[in-house]
Structure formats: structure tokens, C-alpha cells
Amino acid sequence: MSAFLEIRDLSARLRGTRERVLRSVSLQVPPGTVRGLVGESGAGKSMIGKAVLGVLPRAVEIVEGEILLEGDDLLKASPATRRRLIGAKTALVPQDPLTALNPSRRIGRQVTDRLVDILGWDKARATTRALEMLAEVRIQEPERVMRLYPHELSGGMRQRVLIAAAFAAEPKLIVADEPTTALDVTVQKQTLRLISELQARHGTALLFVTHDLGVVAKICDRLSVLYAGKVVEDTSVEKFFATPAHPYSAALLAATPRHTDPTSSLRPVPAAVLDAVGDEIAAADAAWRPHG
């Protein structure tokens, strides 16, 4: 099965330095599947999502690699083509529902804007679609909610609006960047179930960035574990939780608190493991020769 999204040997670095922030990252996301990107903060998982969507910070430049969206290399395309491809085929569910919505515009406009301005739909079609999507994310009285402002909704509802907006244009790939980190645990569960349901129903591929291994277990099919911009493990979710292959992955699992086990101790990642993976990174850097 050919992948909808394929990333090959993607390397990026801070402009003006030799320090790589993404180290030859490769992964594949077949259509309609969910790929988790896990790692601690600073590991680069968010960076990958941003690279795919074309919104890397200005201080970061891509030095090598390919990002293939349904076979089209985004990095080799002209900026206009790239924008068109990304706009038509992808969408983002962001982390913070509060800052992701414009506080001075009504909800309805924010959902339809993208459909009208970027995809060229007419207003009527966009509005109908927005109402459909709001209903699909189980927001009561969608007509009323369309006219509200973001501050009049709870955090959970705002996130649902953002999910609706993301799925509205039927993208083939959605990048979800820690979408439930800012939410309460009960709201998180509802939101994740919603994302899972919509993903399955619409057949969307999902790139799910999170630091929470529990969340990965619940909704992802495969995952990539990242450390310092390098993928240290890439495997299916079942295999990972049964027997993680890489020592760093095992350490992360051991550090995850389990409320069901009263005797579990909280073990931070041991220094020895960090040293070992640090050596791996250094070796990879030494062997790296940028092509072309």
C-alpha cells in the first residue's frame, strides 16, 4: 500500500549553525492510518509536523530530504504549488484551542474562512458544510454556536470547533499537534474518541504528535519515538508496548505512571540510557554526509 505521506531522510538545522534539529527522519503514513510521534519536549516531534505543513520557524532550515504528499515532493515544488498542495490536502489541529482561534471573530466565519478563501467554495456551500461538521463533532445547536465568539465557549468545545474546521475540507492528512495537552483528562478522552471516530469515518491519515504514551496506545496504529531529532524506534503500537526494542523507548515506558499498579515506581530515564542514545546521535552526525 503506497503511503499518503512519506518522509525520507529529512534533516533540518538551525540557520547559521551545524546543529541538526532533525536527523535524517524517515517515516511513512499510509492513507487512513494513525501515526504517533512521541518524544520529550525538544525532541523534534512538533518540528516534523511543522515541516510537513510548511510552517517551520524562520530560524530552522531544511538541508536534506524529501516530503512526499501523495507522491509530490513538497520540498522540490515551487512555493505556490507547495501552498496549494498543502492547503488542499492537509489540515492542522493545534495544541492550544484558546490562541488558535481569533478572539474577535465569530466561530462560523473561522470555520468557513478556509473553505471560501483558500479552496474557493461559495459561501452557501461553506456554511452548510460548517454546520454539518459542527453537528458531527457533537456540538449542540450548531446554528447558535456559529454566531458565538471563542471566549463564550469552554476549552473542550473550542477544541471540537478546531477539529470540525480541520476535517471540513476533507483533507487526506491531518497533523494533530498535542491537541489534548491543554485539556482536562475527562475532556481529553471525549476529544480523542471524537478524533478517532472522525478519522475512521472520513478515512483521513493522521500524524499525531504527543508526549503521552497512554494517548498513543489508545488511538495510534504505528509510532515513531524521537530523541534529539532522530527516530530511535519505528514500530507498531502492539509491538511497542509489549516489547520496546530501543532502551530509550523502554525507559520512557518505565517513566510513565500507571495508576492501576500501586507498586509501580516512577523511574526517570536513567543517565546511562541518555548517554547511550547520545552516543548514537553523535555517531549518526559523524557519518552524515549531506547529498546534493
Binding site: V21, A43, P57
Partner: protein
Amino acid sequence: MLDGRMATRRRAGARLWLSAAWLLVVALAALLAPLIAPHDPLAQDLLLGRLPPVFIAGSEPGYLLGTDSLGRDVLSRMIYGARVALVVALAAGVATCLIGSALGLAAGFYRGWTDRIVGRLVDIWMAFPPVLFAILLIAVLGASLSSVVLAIIVIDWTRFCRVVRAETLNQSQMDYVNSARVAGFTRLRTLLTEILPNVMPVIVALLTLEMGIAVIVEAILSFVNLSVSTDAPTWGGMIAEGRIAIYQSWWVLAFPLVALFLTVLSFAQLGEGLRDRFDPVLR
């Protein structure tokens, strides 16, 4: 590890040193005027009127930047003019800063009645048109250096007050203020040791800006003859005089104008440069 916020490192050096250098030149000129001015700024010699500066044909040695229509040396007048500019900048700037910041900090931190009173005061005060207010004040007090300084203070303190109040309100929400309360600090101590250092960058920026504004206001007032008595040279006064004979002796207007521009620019850049250099958060 890569942090989401990537601080852009500024080149603190150039900005700070250049602006400080020019301001030092101005300060030295002001302090040492009697020693370094080549001529008496008030001495008129009609035979030497409208001499061009030294790099243009027809000049006289000893009058580096030329003379005005009354034969007074432009350079010497500029050097003496620096005195007025500097005194106004420092006196008006610092006083405005102290008054405005103190009230702003108190209003923003203590809230309640303090804030209400200061707020009303600022609103009412700002309702007076500033230029009219200044002219009125000077008309009542008579034109002199101190009345100019007073006029600036009276008008501009509200600028400090509003901005400092806003920033203080902002900082007061932070948990480190709660932390100080939990530690048992008195409110005054919290204001001085926790909040003030975090409002300081705003105050310094405003202060240097205000100093530049004060110099310009003085120049404008001189231009309309409402500043110090016309004997003592001021940059604004020179610009006014130079305007009249601009086609015959453009240098009488140009040089003080450049000096004014450089001084105001330097004050503003000094503020930025100080912040780049000394604010720990940007390092």
C-alpha cells in the same frame, strides 16, 4: 534541546556605543562650552556675516561651520545650545519619569482607590490639549528654561503613568508575585523587589524616548520664541533664524537641525541599546 522560542541575538554593541558616543559629545560640549567654543556665541560682527562653513569657498578660517546674518559663529552657538538641550532633556526627562512611574506603579499594584484616583486624574489631565496647555503655562510663568522644563513635565507625566500602570498590572498577575506574598513580604517590598525590576525595561525605554521628546519640544518652543530669552543660543532658535535666510546661508539652519536629529535619535537608540545589554531576559 530546541526550545520553541528562539531568541534572536541582537548585536548589542553598535547601537549602544554609537548613541552613547554622540550623547557624550553633546554632554562634553555642554559642560565645557566656555573652554571649547572658539568664539563668544553672542559676539556680533556684521562684517563677517553669512560666512560659509570651512569646506566651501569664501570662508574664513576660525569659523568652522560659518556664521549667521549677524556674524555670530555657528559652531560656538551650537556648543552653547547643547547646554539648553541637555538641561531640558535631563531635567524634564527624569522628573517626568519619576512622577509618572511612581504614580503608575502605585496605581497598578495597589489598585482600589489609588488606581481610581490616579486614573481619573490622568483622564482629566489628558483632556487638555497639550500644546495649548504648554503655551498657557509659559505665558503665565514667563518664558525661561525652568518654565519650559515645567511645561514638559506637566504635560508628559501622564504618558509614563499610563504605560507603567499597564505593565505593572500585567506583572502583578504573575505567580511570582503570589510567591512573594506567600513568603511573607510586605506589599511595598514586593512592589520594589519583585515588580520594579520587571517594569524597569519599560521605564528605561520611555525615559530615553522622553528625553528625545523634551529636546524637540524645547526646540519647537524656541522656534516660536516661547523658550529661553533670545540671547542665549538654542538649537530651535537657530533653526528659526536660519529659516529666514535659508537661501543665502543654509548652514545656519542645517547644522543645528542635524545636531537635533542626531541627539533625539541617540536618546532613542540608547534606550534600546541599554535594554539589549543589561536585560537578563534577552541575554
